[in-house]
Subunit: 191 residues, 2 copies
C-alpha cells in the first residue's frame, strides 16, 4: 500500500477522528485535537474555522473539482468534464491509503447530527463549485446545474461504496461505474 | 385575488417576517414573534422547533410532495410522478395570494447566513422525501434518486422565478416550464 505522509491539516483530522471515537464529538475540544496532533490551537484555526470543519478538509475537494472541470478537453461535454473532475479527485484525494480513514470518518459523521448537517452543506458547496466551473467553460446555466447535480450524486454514491472498508477497488473504477449508472438512470427517468 | 386566511403557523410566519424586516433577524426573539401574532410562546414551539424554522413551514411541503408522488397514476414514469407532485404543491402552497409573502421571505433568507443554511438543508430534505416516495412506488433506488434530484432542481428554479414580485404567471405554469427545461438540459448533458 502507498505511504501516506500527512501534513498539518491531515494530522489534525486524524487526531480529531481518534478523539471523537474515544470520547465522543461533544466531549472533544479544539485544544484537545491540537495537542493530540502535536500542534497549537492557533495552527488549528489557521486550517479550520471550527471543530465541525476538521473532518471536511477545508475547500480542497471543491478546488480540485473546479480544476478538474477547467482542465477537461475543450471538446468534452458537460458530463464528460464532470467525469474528468471526479477522476482527478480519485487520484489525488481518495487514494487506497485513505480508505480506512474515510470509513472511520463516515462512521463518526453518521453518528452526529451536527456533522451530518455540515456534510450536507459541504455537498451543496461541491455542486455549486462544479456548476460555476462548467459555466466558466461556456456551458449554459441550466445544463451546468443539471450536469453538476448528477455529478454530485455520482460522487456521493461512489464515496459511500468506496469507503466500505471491505472494498478493494480503486476509487476511479467505483466512480466510473456510479457515473454510468447515474447516466443510465437519468436517461430512463427523463423519457 | 383569492383571499388567504392564515392559520396559527402562518400568522407566526407573517409576524416573523415583519419583525425580521423591521429589526433584523438577530434582534428578534421568539417571544416577540408570538406576541406580534397575538399568540403565546408555547404555541410557537408547538409549531416550530426554533426561530430559524418559522419561515420554513415545518414539514408541510415535504408531506405534500410525498402525497403528490403517491397519488400519481400507476403508469406514470418517475419524472411524471415528480411532475404530479410539483403540480400539487403549486395548487396548495404557491398560490397567487402568497406570491408577495414568498418574495419578502426570500429577501430575508438571502440576507441571513443562518437562514440560507436552513433553507439549503430543507431543500435536501425535500429531495430525500421525493426519493423515498418514488421508492415506495417501486422505482429502483438510483432512478428514484436521479428523478428526485432533477425534480428538486426544477422546484428550486420555479420557486426563484415565481417569487419575483413582478411576475404574474401561476406557479403551475412556471414549474412546468422549469421541468421541461431541466429535462431538455438533462437529456443533452447525458449524451
Amino acid at each position: 500500500m502507498a505511504r501516506w505522509k500527512p501534513n498539518a491539516s491531515e494530522r489534525l483530522a486524524i487526531a480529531a477522528l481518534d478523539l471523537f471515537a474515544e470520547r465522543g464529538y461533544e466531549n472533544t475540544k479544539v485544544i484537545d485535537i491540537a495537542q493530540r496532533a502535536g500542534l497549537t490551537k492557533s495552527t488549528f484555526f489557521r486550517h479550520f474555522q471550527d471543530k465541525r470543519e476538521v473532518l471536511f478538509g477545508g475547500d480542497t475537494l471543491a478546488g480540485l473539482l473546479t480544476e478538474g472541470i477547467a482542465a477537461a478537453p475543450v471538446t468534452a461535454s458537460p458530463f464528460e468534464a464532470v467525469t474528468h473532475a471526479l477522476d482527478t479527485v480519485g487520484s489525488q484525494v481518495f487514494t487506497a491509503a485513505r480508505r480506512d480513514f474515510t470509513a472511520r470518518r463516515q462512521a463518526v459523521i453518521a453518528a452526529n447530527p451536527e456533522l451530518r448537517e455540515r456534510e450536507a452543506l459541504k455537498g451543496l458547496g461541491l455542486t455549486a463549485s462544479m456548476t460555476e466551473a462548467l459555466r466558466h467553460r461556456g456551458v449554459p446555466d441550466l445544463a451546468a446545474r443539471v450536469a453538476a447535480e448528477l455529478g454530485a450524486l455520482a460522487l456521493k454514491i461512489a464515496h459511500e461504496r468506496w469507503s466500505d472498508p471491505a472494498g478493494t477497488e480503486e476509487f476511479s473504477a467505483v466512480v466510473r461505474r456510479a457515473l454510468g449508472a447515474v447516466r443510465t438512470a437519468g436517461v430512463s427517468s427523463l423519457h
